[in-house]
């Protein structure tokens, strides 16, 4: 699939909680087929202190509206500038980049596990799975009830289970503590979130012999496999998370 560099128009910028925004951007040309787990490299204009593009997961795709949604957490100057994007402004993106989550087998029982901003690719993944006839369970971990993101959106794609660190909503603890995981009923895990969370989920999957894919968030410069900055230490040597990933089967990682 060929990569494109294009200007998109900001259709909406919605602040969902204090430091999280959902940007909906519209393509001028018809969108290509986008696979769940792929990402865009956004150029950050009007931010003198930042220089490189920002890799951002594709949160959702609407082929009818010809739009993409990006979930942005303000963590630094680049994302701060992106979060200030106004309706009608232009965002230059390179897309669609990276591989994707694998297609489940017909009898697979799938759970999507995410935490914080890492939930971003799981929405489009969930919708994609729905379109294939799967109804995945979704397990999301947040710090507390004020940090919960897009509960309704995720509820539309499957049963949502929540953990919060303080127990203010759902079960108290981390995702791997949730009771939904105590019965080993899943055959496939798709995970994205903080590295510690992904490692814990990978450990759970490994112990129970469940296929597990994780989407990594490495620092990136080019996004197209040229600079070799975003490498992941795998059983096959150093691979680029931008072209060989961002989605990796945990059996290939040295976790």
């Amino acid at each position: 699939m060929s990569k494109r560099i294009e200007d998109f128009k900001v259709i909406e910028n919605k602040r969902i909680i204090t430091d999280f925004y959902v940007l909906e951007i519209e393509g001028v040309k018809r969108l290509p087929v986008i696979k769940p787990g792929q990402f865009v490299q956004v150029r950050v204009d009007g931010s003198p202190d930042t220089f490189l593009r920002r890799p951002i997961s594709i949160h959702d795709v609407d082929y009818e509206r010809n739009t993409l949604k990006l979930l942005i957490q303000v963590v630094g100057k680049g994302t701060e500038t992106l979060a200030k994007s106004k309706k009608g402004e232009t965002l230059n993106i390179i897309y669609p980049l990276g591989n994707s989550f694998g297609e489940p087998l017909i009898n697979d029982r799938v759970i999507l596990i995410g935490g914080g901003c890492g939930i971003a690719p799981l929405l489009y993944l969930g919708r994609h799975l729905n379109s294939l006839g799967f109804s995945p369970d979704i397990l999301l971990g947040f710090r507390n009830k004020d940090r919960i993101l897009e509960y309704e959106e995720y509820s539309a794609i499957g049963n949502v289970y929540i953990t919060t660190e303080d127990g203010s909503v759902g079960e108290k603890g981390y995702v791997t503590n949730h009771s939904v995981l105590s019965d080993i009923k899943y055959t496939r895990v798709c995970c994205c979130g903080p590295e510690a969370m992904m490692k814990a989920v990978a450990g759970y999957s490994k112990r129970n012999n469940i296929l597990c894919e994780v989407s990594l968030e490495n620092l990136m410069a080019c996004g197209v496999g040229a600079c070799l900055c975003c490498i992941v230490d795998t059983v096959n040597g150093n691979l680029c998370s931008c072209t060989d990933g961002p989605v990796f089967n945990i059996k290939d990682l040295k976790w």
């Binding site: 494109r4 220089f51 040229a226 600079c227 975003c230």
Partner: protein, 303 residues
């Protein structure tokens, strides 16, 4: 019709816009964005004799108007290059220049001798300036004796065009340019990255796994330009200028200061079409200024 052609010895390049090694992969990474064959040349990712895994993650840190990298020459080695990569890129309608690296002098010699046999590789870029490897690399390019020795040894086995890539991490880069010219280099390219570092204050540790790394991007452009200007005045061989070139105007600064050609590097990470935009921009500038031949403006400010 504007003539953008330049020569390194008897090797003709159709235009002076090239890509910097390590920023353009092997070329195909950019096929979706540009017609790679339109470029004057592509300088491909640094090659070593044996496969290398490079340095540990993290290898990159963004800095004001630039970035640090500590990739450390990750590549699959000459054998893989000859059998898997070369066949995929040899039919680009432009010159492919291989950037070569070694830990020991013999590594450079062996690599050069093997590359000599590849028909579609008309030149090599001798990288004696990589700041991110423990052995070799910059060690060769920051000592006049070893810079001379490695150039001389490679020259003895390599008959095609030999370009030596110089390190800016020296007291006087002109001395190095003069030494490699004396030993028969056909051209010098400069600058490689400037040694730098960054500390992650939140995590209270160095941003790079190697602590130090190579700084590139617009932050280094004035330094690079000054060095290119100094070297271009001192040597007779063509100088290929690079360091923070982001747009046409940046490229023209280098050409007016004495560079016969330019390499676009880090800019390709932000705009994968940067090199072609610069090529088109240079042509437009020539029209606008009423020049018919790029050679009329090379080193213009020194005339």
């Amino acid at each position: 019709m504007v003539n953008l052609g330049i020569n390194i010895g008897d090797l003709h390049f159709k235009n002076p816009v090239m890509t910097a090694s390590g920023t353009f992969g092997y070329g195909p990474e950019f096929d979706d964005f540009i017609d790679v064959s339109r470029l004057g040349a592509i300088f491909i990712k640094g090659l070593t004799l044996e496969p290398r895994e490079g340095n540990k993650y993290p290898r990159m840190a963004e800095t004001p108007a630039g970035m640090l990298n500590a990739v450390g020459l990750q590549n699959k080695g000459i054998e893989y290059f000859e059998s898997n990569i070369y066949p995929r890129i040899k039919d680009y309608n432009t010159h492919i220049v291989v950037n070569i690296n070694g830990s020991y002098l013999d590594d450079y010699v062996t690599l050069a001798a093997r590359l000599e046999k590849l028909e579609k590789i008309p030149a090599i870029e001798l990288n004696i300036s990589c700041p991110n490897v423990k052995m070799g690399g910059m060690a060769f390019g920051t000592n006049l004796v070893s810079a001379r020795e490695v150039t001389k040894a490679v020259r003895a086995v390599y008959k095609k065009k030999l370009i030596v890539k110089l390190s800016p991490n020296v007291t006087n880069i002109v001395d190095f340019a003069e030494v490699v010219e004396e030993e028969g280099a056909d051209s010098v390219s400069l600058i490689n990255t400037l040694l730098g570092m960054s500390v992650d204050v939140a995590k209270m540790r160095p941003s790079l796994s190697t602590i130090t790394g190579g700084l590139s991007g617009p932050a280094i452009k004035p330094v690079a330009l000054r060095m290119v200007w100094q070297v271009a005045k001192a040597v007779k061989i063509p100088v290929i200028g690079m360091g923070g070139i982001m747009n046409t105007s940046d490229a023209l600064e280098f050409i007016l200061a004495g560079a016969s050609a330019v390499q676009v590097g880090t800019a390709s990470f932000i705009d994968p079409q940067a090199s072609i935009r610069i090529l088109e921009g240079i042509e437009k500038y020539m029209h606008h200024k009423g020049y018919n031949d790029i050679k009329e403006i090379i080193g213009y400010i020194n005339k």
